[in-house]
Amino acid sequence: MKAPITNPWLDTTTAALIHLIPLALVLAGRFDAIDLLIVYTVEIAVGLAFAIPRLVRRISGIDWAERGVPRGGRIVVATMAVSVPLVGLGLYAYGWGETAVELVTATDWSVARILLAIFTGASLAAYTGYRLRRGDTTAVGLGRVMLQMLVLGFGVTYGLRASEHAATLAEAGWELLDVTGSRGYTWTAWFVQATESLGLGPEVFAAIFIAGMMALNEAVLTVVSHLRSPRSEGPPSSSLPVER
C-alpha cells in the first residue's frame, strides 16, 4: 500500500511551482521554445503512459496486468500510443508546411542543452507520476494530459512563428505598429504591454504563456482531484485515496 498525499495545499503548490522551473530557465537565457517542447513533452508522455492502461481498464474492464501482459509490453503499447500524437504535435509546432529536418537544422542543438531539457522534463514527470499513482482519477489524469497537450502545441506553434516574424521585422528595420489600442485585442494588448514593459521578446512572451498555463492547469486540476476524492470528505488535511 502506497503512502497517501496528506497535505493537499502542499501538493497543489508544488504542482504549480515545479511547472514554472522551465520558465525560470527561459528567463535565465538557458531555454527557448524548442526546449520547452522537450521538457513538457517528456512530462506529457509519462502522464499518458500512466493514463492509458487505466483508461483501458475503466472502459473495457481489461486489466493488462491480470491478463498476463508483461510490464515491458504495457510500456511499449503506451509509448507507441504516446509517440504518434506527440510526433504530430512536434511537426505541427513548426507549421504543417515545414519538415522535421528544417526544425532540427534551424535549432542550435547541444548535448548539454538537450540533457538539461530532458532532465527537467523527467523531474516534472517524476512528480506527475507520483501523484498519478496516488489517487488521481482517470478522468482528471486524461483531462490534465489533453489540456497540457493543447497548451504546449499551440503555445510552441505560435511562439515560434511570432519569434520568426519579430526577427523579420528587426532585420528589415521596420517599426512595430501600435497594437495596444487596437479593437478587440484586449488580452493581446495586455500581454504585449506587460512583456514590453519588462523588455522581453515574443519568444519569452510565449514561454510565459506556456509555463504559466501549465502551472495553472496543474494547480487547478490538483485541487479538483482533491475535491473529487472520497477521503476528502473529512477535515482539510485529509488524504487522497490510495491506489491498491
Binding site: R161, L177, V179, W187, F205, L227
Partner: protein, 124 residues
C-alpha cells in the same frame, strides 16, 4: 414544496465543475490571445512603415488638399485587425483642412506588400 439542502459532496462536485469549466475557458482565451499576437506580428512583418506612411500622405494630399503645398505628417500608425491598419496624418501648415486625416489601409499578404487606402476620414 421543500428543497433538500446540498450535501457536502454535492457542493464539492459543483465547485470542481466550476473550476474545470473556468480552466477550459482560460486555456482557450490564452490560446486565442497568443494566436492574435502571432497574427498581428505576421501582418506587421509584411508592412514597411515608410511605405504605409507614403501611401497615406499621397492619398490625403490628393483627396483633401490638392492645391496646398503643405507636407502632411503621419503621426500614428495602428493595426486594426482583419488585415487593415490606419494612419493619422496631420497637415501642420495647411489652412484647409486643419485637422487630422485618418487613412485605413487594406493589407495584402504579398511580397512586396500591397497597401490600398479604403477609407479617409477627417478628424477635427
Amino acid at each position: 414544496m421543500s428543497s433538500t439542502p446540498p450535501t457536502r459532496s454535492g457542493r464539492r462536485t459543483a465547485v470542481a465543475a466550476v473550476l474545470i469549466v473556468g480552466l477550459v475557458v482560460a486555456n482557450f482565451s490564452f490560446i486565442s490571445a497568443l494566436s492574435t499576437f502571432e497574427r498581428v506580428l505576421a501582418v506587421q512583418s509584411r508592412i514597411p512603415g515608410d511605405q504605409a506612411t507614403q501611401v497615406c500622405q499621397n492619398a490625403a494630399r490628393r483627396a483633401l488638399d490638392p492645391r496646398a503645398h503643405a507636407e502632411p505628417t503621419v503621426v500614428d500608425l495602428r493595426y486594426l485587425g482583419d488585415n487593415t491598419a490606419e494612419a493619422r496624418t496631420v497637415f501642420a501648415y495647411s489652412d484647409r483642412p486643419d485637422g487630422v486625416i485618418r487613412c485605413t489601409f487594406a493589407l495584402e499578404a504579398s511580397r512586396p506588400p500591397q497597401l490600398t487606402v479604403v477609407d479617409l476620414e477627417v478628424v477635427r
